[in-house]
């Protein structure tokens, strides 16, 4: 078993975390504009974003603060918008080498965001904690700074720039899911079905009322359950498919 902290793991984490960090800054900037409307100062935005690291969750919380919601609503909002992190945590638990200490497991779990999870799960073999930590650290610093910058300078960027920056995250998602789709036709099937059903749910009667967070939760559980049933995978002992 290799040592926990290896220099190349840290390097790889920083390398893969940098594009995520840039995308985070842009998204957090627009989040900061909403946070400002809710009454957060730049310092509050930084602390909140640094420790929460949840785009949809934070968005939900700030909109609730803006309308002076009660505490229970804040907790409910966090549960719903971040439920997918439970699934990701369960999945990531399978990518951590046996014998890794509980402290590392807990810290790695705290690092989970959509993107950090995405690159951690895509790491070959067991995911080294140092890889996840370094990617999470650099991206979180940019995320928190972006939110503060948005609070301070919100509204100063032209709408065309904000519009263009807003797709950075989605581009990254695509870069994470397409290469495995090319290697594994079952993943490709799952991804295509996800695109189609998600698109339908956004326009279909009744379900179009769902928030993006709800849609993500319901469709992820539903599609994963069906695809896992139709196309079960044989995983080897290292956890690689």
């Amino acid at each position: 078993m290799q040592p926990l902290m290896q220099r190349n793991d840290i390097f790889e984490g920083l390398r893969d975390g940098t594009p995520i960090a840039l995308g985070y800054f842009a998204v957090a900037f627009s989040l900061g504009i909403i946070a400002k409307g809710a009454g957060l100062t730049a310092a509050m935005g930084f602390v909140s974003s640094f420790f929460t690291r949840a785009s949809a969750g934070e968005y939900g919380v700030y909109t609730l603060i803006a309308v002076s919601a009660i505490y229970v609503e804040i907790i409910a909002m966090c549960l719903v918008t971040n439920l997918r992190y439970m699934l990701m945590s369960a999945a990531l638990s399978q990518k951590i080498a046996p014998g890794t200490s509980w402290l590392h497991r807990i810290l790695m779990a705290c690092c989970i965001t959509d993107e950090i999870f995405g690159i951690s799960i895509a790491h070959r073999g067991y995911t080294p904690p140092a890889y996840t930590y370094s990617a999470a650290l650099i991206s979180t610093l940019f995320w928190a700074s972006g939110c503060s910058a948005g609070i301070v300078a919100g509204g100063m960027l032209p709408a065309s720039i904000v519009s263009a920056l807003s797709v950075a995250l989605y581009g990254m998602f695509l870069a994470i899911i397409m290469p495995p789709s090319r290697r594994d036709s079952n993943v490709l099937l799952a991804v295509v079905v996800s695109f189609v059903l998600s698109g339908l749910c956004a326009v279909a009667p009744l379900v179009c009322e769902w928030s993006g967070g709800t849609r993500t939760i319901v469709l992820t559980i539903l599609i994963s359950a069906i695809v896992a049933w139709l196309k079960p995978v044989d995983l080897d002992e290292d956890g690689d498919a």
Partner: protein, 107 residues
Amino acid sequence: MKMETRDIIICIALAIVTTNLIRVLPMVLIKGRIRHRYVRSFLYYVPYITLAVMTFPSIVQTTMSPLSGLVAFVVGVVAAWRGLGLFPVAAICCAIVYVMDFLLTLL
């Protein structure tokens, strides 16, 4: 009616605790490797499906014009399929939206 600073801080603290508990609980509760084939298959597909669901149709809904988001989506899929990394794909998508939004305003 705006919230008092103290209330905002309590809300932020609640959000931090709740969000991180959600992340940590499964990791702490699941001991060792999951042997169950169906559960392993389910967890194998979850990340790809989550990211796919979050990408589409949101990418089309966040841009100034849905058309530019749609083009960015298609080109992003092709670029990622061809093996371009996280940053190049993201940059290409941003550039397309910027240029498309600009061109559409000329029409």
